[in-house]
Amino acid sequence: MTATPDAAQAAARQAFAPNWMARAGAVALAAYVVYAMGRLDITWARLVTGIGEAGRFLGRMWPPNFERWELLLEGMLESIQIALLSSALGILISLPLGLMAARNLSPAFLAAPTRAFIAICRSLHYVIVAILFVKAIGFGALAGVAALTVASMGFIAKLFAEAIEEISMKQVEAIRATGAGLGKVLLYGVLPQVASRFTGFCLYQLDSNLRNSTLVGIVGAGGIGGTLFAAFKRFDYDFVAAILLSIIALIFLAEIVSGRIRAAMR
């Protein structure tokens, strides 16, 4: 095969289309990291000292101290109570809320404000909501339950509404055509289509509430969080370690249980 002018042309053919957007993006990202680290005063010196401190810190956490296990147990139980109650309340309220927010079932004047309300429930972090409830209705588990109920509503109702909007309206029409009233239409036309997803959301939120209920105590809303915060303030790091291990164990257990439930549902 003789060398042809095509060989020279071949070298000029484009092998790769350069992706300028991606390159610009990568450079911008790198520049940002440097800039932000400067703004937040994260320097190598601090990192090095930090690693030393972290080592010392870990040393003080070991071995974990379970001496005050009654206090620990009391706090954990209260957290579990808060999680259960807020999940139950949240689920109960989310059922009608989600139905009202679904644009394919609910008239616009009802759906729009409901969606706005759900969005507001989601926007504020549950700790902030907990603080507000503590200031409003006092310290203790009540504030915690209220705060996590709001968080549950924001999550479950939103996803529930989205699931309802994705159902096939043909099935709903079919039930309507039999002359059934609103209740029966919902029960036989809508709910079967979203039931398994709804249960999934509820399980996820219960799990999430369990995690979060261990925290709301930091701001006085009940549960093990208060005990944890107090231990930190007193530099009882080995008790802190005990509490953290208990929390991790609880969450791990909860994940296993909900995993089993999900598997059984399939």
């Binding site: 680290m37 005063d41 603080i131 009540l142 944890l228 991790i248």
Partner: protein, 266 residues
């Protein structure tokens, strides 16, 4: 010939019925336990609506003069914490995800180890991580950034591992058959397949981190939480309102940004 003419339709088999009944029993029992044992002072419960209304009245109108410079600077710092924290989390999350993905790493002990690390990271709430890092780095945004980073590793790593396990094995087989070394096979065979999921996960976590960063200041880890904490402790409810509105605005803007970017990337 004894053929029964009437056939009964039962929705569930006897075993299923017992199973469902048991589940309901468990749910009701746990709720009853929770309601009876949780310490809720009845007077507080009765007072609650009145107290909440009182609080809302005190927060109106919001003190907008307070915004500049205190709230504004703190908001920017919060955004830096969220972004930098998310970026840093990938440094640990990517190797852990590769180790946890059973199609990449076929040593079950390492899979298990990586999963354990990931579960631990997300079982500890970002507020608790913040407490830990304040003890290590001292109060300020550095603690907040690392708290966000360490908390996000579990979330990002888990989702990344799932995305990696869902990649098609064919292209990887082809590259291996051609004698490509491990690193190049990962780069050219796996990375292109997980790229959309990668950016989606990053955006998703950044969105959540913006919310989470806002509260870290409550334990001294920098950001707008510090301003909020001060305002609450001094009962300056109009300022609290301003801060809450500012947080709300940032969260909404973050969601819009994420939705736009996601639409363009996918």
């Amino acid at each position: 010939m004894s053929v029964s003419l009437s056939r009964e339709w039962d929705r569930f088999t006897p075993q299923q019925r017992i199973g469902r009944w048991l589940v309901w029993l468990a749910i009701v029992a746990s709720l009853v336990w929770a309601v009876r044992t949780v310490e809720i002072i009845p007077e507080f419960l009765a007072d609650a609506p009145e107290q909440m209304a009182d609080l809302l009245v005190r927060m109106w109108p919001p003190d907008l003069r307070h915004y500049h410079p205190a709230v504004h600077d703190a908001l920017i710092e919060t955004l830096h914490i969220a972004t930098l924290g998310t970026l840093f989390s990938f440094v640990l999350a990517v190797p852990l995800a590769l180790m946890a993905a059973r199609n990449i790493c076929r040593i079950p002990v390492l899979n298990g180890f990586a999963q354990l690390m990931l579960v631990s990271s997300r079982s500890v709430n970002s507020l608790v991580w913040a407490l830990i890092f304040v003890a290590v780095f001292g109060p300020g945004a550095a603690a907040g950034t690392f708290a966000i980073a360490f908390r996000s590793v579990g979330f990002v790593g888990k989702l990344l591992a799932e995305a990696i396990e869902e990649t098609a094995p064919g292209p990887v087989e082809a590259l291996t058959a051609a004698g490509s070394p491990w690193g190049s096979t990962m780069l050219k065979g796996i990375w292109p397949q997980v790229q959309p999921a990668f950016w989606g996960i990053a955006l998703f976590r950044w969105d959540i981190n913006v919310r989470e960063s806002a509260v870290l200041g409550l334990v001294g880890a920098g950001g707008i939480g510090v301003v909020l904490d001060d305002a609450i402790n001094f009962f300056q409810w109009e300022r609290v309102a301003t801060v809450l509105l500012a947080i709300l605005a940032v969260v909404i803007i973050a969601e819009i940004v994420v939705t736009r970017i996601r639409a363009r990337l996918i």
